[in-house]
């Protein structure tokens, strides 16, 4: 199941690069941490009002912290990344002031291990900011030392020196680990984007080479067609060659078709169909076979299906006079069986009145039946010919015995 997530819609995000995706992931993490802080602050209000030395100041600074978090994250969402010296520096500085203000609304004993003084929670958030948002390592170190220092200064007077020091060290650790993870993600995304750009460049060069090769082959046909040809037989031949060249160029231009290796052992149905279609580049074939990508059949059955497909496409080439041929692959959701359909828009025929050639009756019919593969032909004059091969998820062993 795919779809654009609500979050992406809200953020207006269209990830053209992995770097942008990486920034989105980090922004999402920061939003989660901020949201968690806000919930914890709201839960702390009751206890805070009971124990704070100046309840009104406790409430005011708590409100400032929440508003600041909302503003900072909104700014980050608008630019779709949580980064920058301005945004990160302001965030760290404001939170440092809020942490330092603990001394004016909380008793010394409450400043470590309680949410009456919420400086550690806010400091942890600022440490993540220092690690993710600030552009340089020394910015991160300076930011986290500022936060840890202010926290230590206001908390150490409460008689829990060891705990306060541990918490301060924790704040520095949060920042360093955040920095390492953020740097790693950004570097990874940068490498992936560069690799993709290089792949596009290489594909472009390869395409240019293939263009040259293809045009070289067709130049002769074009030159002959440009000559004043009087012999009708030669003209007819040249026109046929030009039509075939046109289909070949069309086939070439549709290249997300590779030349798949067909080796011993189970064969991917999509590769199999592509391999056969590659033998009929003179036909105007459209391959809609992505649904059978990854569906494998035993090599004996693969050989039988390849023969049958060749036979079907040979009939299209010789008899159909088609402008469009579609080869389609599908998987039955209920049975996991597969289905290959070849549809042409050619002249068609009446199946009941037209004797099937050896190819269609023997190759595409009887031989496949031994593997449990059925063949269906549903042609009508003037309405093209659909031919469908249906195979089970588990092929019959009879075909294997016969081929073996």
């Amino acid at each position: 199941m795919i779809g654009q997530s609500p979050w992406r819609r809200i953020a207006g995000f269209r990830g053209h690069t992995l770097a942008a995706e990486a920034e989105l992931v980090m922004l999402l993490g920061v939003l989660g941490i901020r949201l968690n802080l806000i919930v914890q602050l709201l839960l702390a209000i009751r206890e805070g009002l009971e124990h704070a030395t100046r309840p009104w100041l406790f409430l005011l600074l708590l409100a400032v912290m929440i508003v600041e978090s909302v503003v900072v994250t909104t700014c980050a969402v608008r630019v779709r990344r949580f980064a920058g010296l301005g945004l990160g520096g302001a965030d760290v500085a404001i939170i440092a002031v809020l942490v330092g203000a603990e001394r004016w609304y909380s008793a010394p004993d409450d400043r470590v291990g309680t949410w009456v003084a919420w400086g550690f929670g806010a400091g942890a958030v600022a440490a993540v900011t220092a690690g993710v948002a600030l552009p340089r390592w020394w910015h991160t170190i300076a930011g986290c030392l500022l936060i840890a220092g202010v926290y230590l200064a206001v908390s150490i007077s409460g008689g829990q020196t060891s705990t306060a020091v541990n918490n301060a060290v924790g704040l520095v650790s949060f920042a360093v680990v955040s920095r390492l993870v953020a740097s790693y993600l950004r570097r990874l995304a940068d490498l992936a984007d560069r690799a993709r750009a290089e792949a596009v460049l290489a594909a472009r060069r390869s395409e240019l080479d293939k263009h040259r090769l293809l045009l070289h082959d067709q130049a002769t046909v074009l030159r002959l067609l440009s000559e004043p040809v009087t012999d009708p037989r030669l003209l007819a031949l040249l026109r046929r060659q030009a039509a075939a060249a046109s289909h070949e160029i069309r086939f070439f231009l549709g290249t997300d078709r590779h030349d798949p290796p067909i080796e011993d052992g189970p064969v991917d149905l999509r590769d199999l169909i592509t391999a056969v279609a590659n033998e009929f580049r003179d036909l105007p074939i459209t391959l809609n076979t992505r649904l059978v990508s990854g569906i494998e059949v035993p090599d004996g059955l693969a050989t039988a299906v390849m023969r049958a497909l060749r036979t079907v496409l040979l009939n299209v080439r010789v008899h159909a006079g088609a402008d469009e041929v579609t080869v389609h692959g599908d998987v039955e959701a209920d049975t996991d069986g597969w289905e290959i359909t070849v549809v042409d828009d050619g002249v068609g025929f009446v199946p009941d009145r037209t004797p099937l050639g050896y190819g269609l009756s023997h190759q595409a019919g009887d031989h496949l039946l031994r593997w449990g593969v059925t063949t269906e032909i549903d042609s009508a004059p003037g309405d093209g010919t659909p031919i469908t091969l249906r195979g089970p998820a588990k092929p019959s062993r009879a075909g294997e015995r016969h081929d073996g």
Binding site: I2, R14, H16, N288, L291, D344, A380
Partner: protein, 218 residues
């Protein structure tokens, strides 16, 4: 000009295409032909549909805005864009729909098909190639087009197999007109899906490869 005739502008770097379409198309009048889409935007002709080639600079070495960039520029100017191209790569074509095109016709197709597509695009319909219909089916199977009705899915399934509307309507016991209408809904939803998703999403989820004409640089 007869009442049913549609006015189009042609943007193509090929002189033969620009001049040839003036005399070859029926029920379509070419009122302007331009080598670059910027020339079209500068002239701002009043037309029903713009026929736009994707490759406006040969091998793409001259820094001319083309491909998805040109589609986005022309669509942003308020024109209905019908891509007329030899380009077959799915990512590139999907990217053009994503950038605002209303349809795609290959230059290898008969001219009647081009005329029909101009009229369809003018009616507000989307026109897509058989390979893109296959991609729409893949998207539907992946759950990306959840609002399609079972009948619309059946028509999509038939079209992805290359079946004619006549054959589909006979099999489903509906009129050809209704089959067309169902498919029209499918293509519109698919085009909207493409507009809501980036090329990276398509690569990741639908398994189609990158296309360099999608680059919006230049």
């Amino acid at each position: 000009m007869s009442p049913g005739t549609r006015r189009v502008a042609v943007v193509d770097d090929d002189t033969v295409v620009r001049e040839g379409l003036r005399v070859l198309l029926s029920s379509v009048e070419v009122v302007g032909a331009y080598g670059r889409h910027q020339q079209l935007l500068h002239a701002a002709p009043e037309v029903d549909v713009v026929l736009l080639d994707l490759n406006l600079d040969g091998l793409g070495t001259g820094g001319v805005r083309q491909g998805g960039s040109a589609v986005a520029d022309v669509a942003a100017a308020g024109y209905r864009v019908l891509i007329y191209t030899n380009e077959h790569r799915l990512t590139v074509l999907a990217g053009c729909l994503s950038a605002g095109a209303s349809g795609i016709v290959h230059k290898t197709e008969p001219l009647e098909r081009l005329s029909e597509s101009v009229h369809a695009v003018h009616r507000g319909e989307f026109v897509i190639t058989p390979a893109l219909v296959g991609l729409a089916e893949l998207a539907q199977r992946q759950g990306a087009l959840p609002s399609l009705s079972p009948r619309q899915c059946q028509v999509l399934r038939g079209r992805a197999r290359g079946e004619s509307y006549r054959r589909i309507s006979r099999r489903l016991d509906i009129s050809e007109k209704v089959a067309h209408e169902y498919m029209s809904v499918v293509t519109a939803r698919f085009a909207q899906f493409l507009r809501d998703h980036s090329a990276a999403d398509l690569e990741r989820h639908l398994g189609i490869g990158p296309g360099d004409l999608l680059d919006f640089g230049g």
